[in-house]
Symmetry: C2
Subunit: 321 residues, 2 copies
């Protein structure tokens, strides 16, 4: 009878680059064996547990990989050759000492970037508020909405809600106090729906602001239907629809037709399609980067924000006139 770990490897596939990595590993090991170096494997960072094949959500844990990265440095310091198996985007040896947010203060040679950064800092144009849990996020969200509603009457603010907010959560009273035991067999997690905050946002917290939400799907057939339903239900101004698979090169702007009469797109083009199957109709506008654009280093966010700002401009004019 096969044991559980054997079954695991039978039921799963190796990572994409697996064979190449193994080949590189072998040559690396042989090199160090020839030089009689001591070798250590350091594993580092948390592993994720996908909930879908096209992974949007996964189970994760607290680890950012500091212990592994710091330990790796120490092994190297002591003359070891190290295989460092680490979570993608986790803390890296040596590089971890340079906090990305502080590097720009010290670095020369990146003039335009540094100029943008300096300008933002000198003008106090950027206020960064970090969050990690859903709860923190939702608390800050309401606070910011309420504050902007009150303080931006000169030009009602735009809300550009790009955060990937969890759909499900476990209410405080159902959370276990300590680490769940892993020796007690299978685990069943009961999750509850996170309230849709666009409703109070549009009706209570910030009814005067320009609100753009994001909708990410993996199934293209659902994207427009869901974007339209959201606009109809919450009454906000625009949904940026995107597919997980193509989100870096294509998005679809979806907005109520009633708004499009007043607000024109930045490019002046007519919207690409109109949906008028029932009383509430929307117009869509596809933004796309060509392969040439991409290899020239263009990012689609430049286009998205250009379009949003143009609409926001008109929105402000309508409100303040």
């Amino acid at each position: 009878m096969a044991s559980d770990w054997e079954i695991f490897y039978k039921q799963t596939f190796p990572p994409l680059e697996f064979d190449n990595v193994c080949e590189r590993l072998r040559r690396w090991c042989q090199y160090h064996a020839a030089h009689k170096h001591k070798v250590a494997l350091v594993t580092s960072g948390g592993t994720t547990v996908p909930l879908e094949r096209n992974t949007v959500r996964f189970l994760d844990n607290f680890s950012v990989g500091t212990r592994g990265a710091a330990s790796c440095e120490q092994f190297l310091q002591l003359g070891y050759a190290v295989v460092f198996v680490h979570r993608e985007a986790s803390v890296l040896p040596f590089a971890r000492h340079l906090h990305p947010a502080r590097v720009l203060d010290a670095l020369a040679g990146l003039r335009p970037l540094v100029r943008c950064y300096r300008k933002a800092v000198l003008g106090d144009m950027l206020l960064a508020i970090p969050f990690s849990s859903l709860t923190s996020y939702l608390w800050y969200l309401r606070a910011v909405c309420e504050c902007l509603e009150q303080e931006t009457r000169h030009a009602p603010a735009a809300l550009y809600l790009a955060a990937a907010v969890a759909d499900y959560y476990i209410p405080e009273e159902k959370l276990s106090e300590h680490k769940l035991e892993s020796c007690t067999g299978p685990l069943s997690i009961e999750l509850e729906l996170v309230p849709k905050m666009l409703l109070p946002m549009m009706n209570v917290w910030s009814p005067s602001l320009y609100v753009v939400s994001f909708k990410l799907e993996t199934d293209v057939t659902k994207l427009l239907t869901k974007a339209k339903a959201a606009l109809h239900k919450y009454g906000h101004h625009l949904v940026v629809g995107n597919l997980l698979q193509t989100r870096r090169e294509q998005v679809t702007l979806v907005e109520p037709s009633s708004l499009c009469n007043k607000i024109h797109s930045a490019s002046g083009e007519k919207s690409l399609s109109t949906s008028t199957t029932d009383e509430f109709s929307v117009e869509t506008h596809i933004l796309q980067l060509s392969d040439d654009n991409r290899s020239a280093g263009l990012e689609i966010e430049e286009r998205i924000v250009m379009e949003i700002c143009s609409r926001h401009e008109s929105f402000i004019k309508n409100r303040c006139s």
Copy 2:
């Protein structure tokens, strides 16, 4: 009757720095209102869903915050003042252009760090293998163990397993193909236990290597019992025990007493306590940083690795003599 979002805020507490942040936010808004700047809120990155109050595990999602950060830059470019509500440690505006792993190649002024890095690079002393999912991790783990078993006979390698590996996972065949629908009410997730890979590691993949595992708990009373049980069950060499709350300043090394006769600690001290309640006994050795150590910038990993290397040295001598 209170609506679901009202109940949410009634049942949760605001983040720690909430009042201060709100006060800063208000002053910031007033400043920009006085200067008639346009203002945008950009939210960015994924929110986590804790499964425990002392959070070890949480639900997370794919987002690293690129869209939010890139969009934020564009808003600033267009003259906006931006409130950027972002996931901690997510991608940051401007700073995101500097990949931490590449900065060291360009940067001067950090001599000792750069020297260590250069040395590691020039000597090809570091081989980095990234992973993200549990499956990728476990595939690489086995491959590395098998390779090191075969290729480090000159000095059997040390395995320093610091990665925070998920205890539970959802088998491939039970994963839903597309994003789970969030409109269908509560969600129940059935998770299965991840096989304990120390068993095949010690018996099949790499029986000749020196193996150090990590055990993280939030409940101090369970730490030693579990470390001892693991050593007894898997037959590896050392468990580094640590508590989530104090993991940066204290760890406990736990090892079978039978090994301690052969292998001495780096500091030459006697182990601090011995447990001999039954046939299998362990010795423990506490490593601790004082507040002075911490404020001098010392990291506990330096001590941990020093101790491990000393033991590994003896282990190699015993094996190869």
